[in-house]
């Protein structure tokens, strides 16, 4: 026991902190540019930070809570009140205020009128050095029969009227009050009537009526609303099924092709660098361009139809890309993706092949392995690490197929998860459901990566 303790103490003394200091910047980088944005972004999918509004018993921030109403509840507006708040609080975000000026002016009869007028009624002409208004004139009231502006004895439309001013009357501004408007509302939540005060910014008032709704809340809640919205979306299942279908169709074909291409390059035939260039050309073309390219092949007056017509195989062009021929769209997407992204697998496989020493391959040949036996018993097992890297990469990329689908199907007839993310965000302006889709893609990617890595680890354990 004692010895153990001593040895652990010795170990503790040996800790070298230098590498940790080096890690620190990368941790900060990781937190700042990955974890935080991902947490915020994907949080949108499960967290509604405006889910409920808590109502106060008094029109004051410090008052006790009277109850909460969920976002969207219809409410009846019972009363309203302007609360004076200090000027330094007025500039804060999310504080909607109404400003009242204390003025002194002469009315049409030459009487001096003193009192309060809402900021909206005064055009400020002069300000002092501190930026506070000192003089102005009464605005004309457009479209209203009565051109007179009421001056109240208090900064409040319910107060006593102290006098009336004509439009364009010169006023001296002696003081100003900044008011926050509170509404007293009554609404129902789960058959319970809740009544209380809330700031005006949370309430949407319907026109000139005394009804409105809770526009947004001030307390957040976890919600499955967006997830269920996503699952119940009419495009969800088609998108998911198509995404997985494309993965299953694309990846095996790509791997077989990539391995064959890599073996062709590795055979060191004459002009093998030409092969490499030709094989990797699609890597340099953008996904959308590839989609458009294959669209121009499959479209009604496209290359394929004109080829078939010139060779006399068909008389009238075939409509490949239509809602009635979804399978043709899938085939076109499959071809485009295989054409576009096989070479990235090939590049990985080629680099893996180059790591296999010539002598090992010669040994296999010498000890009697035919070409197929060499591939099966030596090359493929030794390529396993590269193949697993390629598999992870390809699966993740297959989940992100987007532009090719858009180009070939327009995004409605055949749709994939990435396309739905885009549709929710840009078309429906629903960032939350878009985040839910994005989170789903992330989850599938991570899940597949974990499965592949597990496969590697279990083999290493077997090896150990």
């Amino acid at each position: 026991m004692n010895e153990e303790k001593q040895s652990t103490q010795k170990k503790r003394k040996k800790i070298n902190w230098a590498p940790y200091w080096l890690i620190l910047p990368s941790l900060i980088y990781l937190a700042l540019f990955f974890i935080w944005p991902m947490f915020r972004g994907l949080g949108l999918a499960v967290y509604n930070d405006e889910a409920a509004l808590s109502l106060q018993t008094e029109p004051s921030r410090d008052a006790a809570t009277a109850g909460t109403l969920p976002q969207g509840t219809q409410v009846e507006i019972l009363d309203q009140q302007g609360n004076l708040i200090p000027p330094d609080e007025a500039g804060q975000a999310n504080v909607i205020t109404e400003v009242w000026y204390q003025i002194s002016a002469e009315d049409a009869d030459g009487n001096t009128v003193e009192g309060w007028v809402s900021e909206s009624r005064i055009r400020v002409r002069e300000e002092n050095e501190a930026g506070a208004p000192t003089a102005g004139s009464v605005r004309t009231r457009i479209g209203a029969g009565d051109t007179l502006t009421e001056v109240y004895s208090e900064p409040n439309e319910n107060a006593e009227v102290a006098g009336q001013l004509e439009a364009r009357a010169e006023v001296a501004i002696t003081d100003q009050s900044i008011l926050e408007i509170w509404y007293q509302v009554r609404g129902e939540d789960r058959n319970q009537t809740v009544e209380g005060w809330a700031q005006s910014r949370y309430i949407q008032v319907f026109g000139e009526t005394n009804t409105g709704r809770i526009d947004r809340g001030n307390t957040g809640q976890f919600t499955t609303e967006y997830l269920s919205k996503m699952v119940n979306d009419r495009f969800f299942w088609p998108a998911t099924i198509t995404t997985f279908l494309l993965m299953i169709l694309i990846i095996p074909v790509q791997f077989v092709l990539a391995i064959v291409m890599a073996l062709v390059i590795q055979a060191r035939l004459k002009g093998n660098s030409l092969f490499l260039y030709v094989f990797t050309i699609p890597l340099g073309i953008s996904e959308l361009a590839v989609g458009i390219l294959w669209f121009s092949i499959f479209t009604q007056s496209g290359f394929l139809n004109s080829f078939l017509q010139t060779t006399g195989l068909i008389n009238t062009p075939i409509t490949f890309l239509s809602a009635d021929t979804r399978y043709w769209i899938i085939i076109a997407i499959w071809l485009a993706e295989v054409w576009r992204a096989t070479s990235i697998v090939m590049v990985i496989v080629v680099s893996g092949l180059q790591a296999i020493s010539d002598e090992v391959l010669e040994a296999a040949e010498l000890f009697g392995a035919s070409l197929w036996q060499r591939v099966r018993h030596v090359i493929l097992p030794m390529l396993k690490p590269s193949l697993q890297v390629a598999l992870i990469l390809r699966t993740i990329l297959a989940l992100q197929v987007f532009a090719v689908v858009i180009a070939l199907s327009g995004g409605d007839v055949v749709t994939v998860l990435a396309n739905e993310t885009y549709r929710q965000y840009s078309e429906f302006r629903n960032a939350n459901v878009a985040a839910a889709y994005a989170g789903l893609i992330l989850l599938i990617s991570m899940g597949s990566a974990v499965i592949y890595l597990r496969m590697i680890r279990s083999q290493e354990e077997m090896a150990a």
Binding site: L366, H377, V378
Partner: protein, 364 residues
């Protein structure tokens, strides 16, 4: 029967002639060493025999069967590679069994042969391990076990010991020799290490620039090199070469080194007669000179420049004319640098070399 016959083999890489019209016969169950400096074509010749690189012209037969254009697996051969080339993803057992499995040998037979081979190489308790967890020497043993498990008629070895450290190399050298004596196999062993060649081979084929310079028993190659290159390549220190002048005195021939006159053995008199008045190269091995610490009539006086005590011998460096000569003496021979010693050249140990052609002269 696995006699290997190479006839007029030529192999070129672009303009470079790696194997230049080589003919070589290796008898059944013989241990033939291909020796030469790097780039001499020895590995190319071995690979041609293995089928890993086809010859441009010529003929190779193994056991009387023409294999010139057969793939390696149809040649009844096995091979140990320089970098071992064992399969890193297979356990030792699977490595050793690989060739047998490819041949679809019966399972029990495979097991028996794998165990026999691994016992011969003392790796029978490592069969469950992966090569990555093994030392260089152990991997070497796996590579050899894999080769002998095949029980092919021919075993080819391409510098198999060159990746081992000096001590291990010494150990494996003796072990390989023991092992190959136990099994009936014709072996071709490529090396650039002349000690390995001398100690292991039944015969040595010394190669240079794609041409076999000499192919003979190790003692013969050492003692009677066919030319100046072989003499200078084999032996540590290599054979000494000195410039001399053939002179005729009353019907007998003498060779002058400066003022000193050497008396060639009677056997060589007729040949040397034709070199009368011409320069000739004298070749003699370091251990074949007698060192005296006092003058004698038939001894040449030389000044010692360097003394290297090597334990079993003292190696002296002396200057004779413009030539530096290494002389091996008994470790008890007491000598200091800059002192004088006298060298005696036994007539039967001297090799006479044509200066233009570099060929060692043999009595007709």
């Amino acid at each position: 029967m696995a006699e290997i016959k190479v006839e007029n083999a030529v192999k070129t890489f672009g303009d470079f002639v790696a194997v230049d019209n080589v003919s070589l016969t290796i008898h059944d169950q013989e241990f033939m060493v291909l020796l030469g400096p790097s780039g001499c074509g020895k590995t190319t010749l071995l690979r041609a025999i293995a089928g890993l690189g086809m010859v441009d012209s010529g003929r190779i037969s193994i056991g009387g069967r023409d294999v010139t254009y057969l793939p390696p697996r149809s040649r009844n051969i096995s091979m140990v590679f320089q970098s071992y080339a064992i399969f890193p993803h297979m356990k030792v057992y699977d490595n050793v069994a690989f060739g047998l499995r490819m041949r679809k040998v019966d399972k029990n037979d495979i097991d028996r042969r794998v165990r026999r081979a691994s016992e011969l190489l003392h790796i029978e308790n490592m069969l469950d391990r992966y090569p990555s967890k093994m030392s260089g020497g152990q991997r070497q043993r796996v590579a050899v076990a894999r080769a002998i498990a095949m029980q092919a008629g021919v075993l080819l070895m391409d510098e198999p010991l060159s990746n081992l450290d000096a001590l291990l190399r010494l150990e494996m050298r003796a072990e390989l020799k023991r092992l190959l004596a136990e099994i009936d196999v014709t072996t071709i062993y490529v090396t650039h290490d002349q000690i390995e060649a001398l100690s292991m081979g039944d015969r040595i084929a010394v190669m240079r620039n794609g041409i076999i310079q000499q192919c003979d028993h190790p003692t013969k190659v050492y003692d009677l090199p066919s030319n100046q290159f072989v003499g200078g390549f084999i032996g540590n220190p290599p054979m000494n070469f000195m410039q001399g002048q053939v002179q005729r005195h009353n019907g007998s021939v003498k060779v002058a080194i400066g003022d000193f006159a050497l008396e060639p053995a009677n056997l060589y008199q007729p040949i040397l007669r034709s070199y009368d008045g011409q320069p000739i190269v004298i070749g003699i091995r370091a251990e074949n000179m007698e060192t005296l610490n006092k003058p004698a009539d038939d001894a040449l006086k030389v000044q010692v420049q360097v003394v290297e005590p090597l334990g079993s011998q003292n190696l002296l460096t002396v200057k004779i004319g413009d030539d530096t000569v290494k002389v091996s003496t008994h470790p008890t021979f007491d000598v200091t640098p800059n002192s004088d010693v006298w060298l005696r050249f036994p007539a039967d140990k001297i090799r006479w070399i044509d200066r233009e052609k570099g060929q060692v002269l043999y009595p007709a």
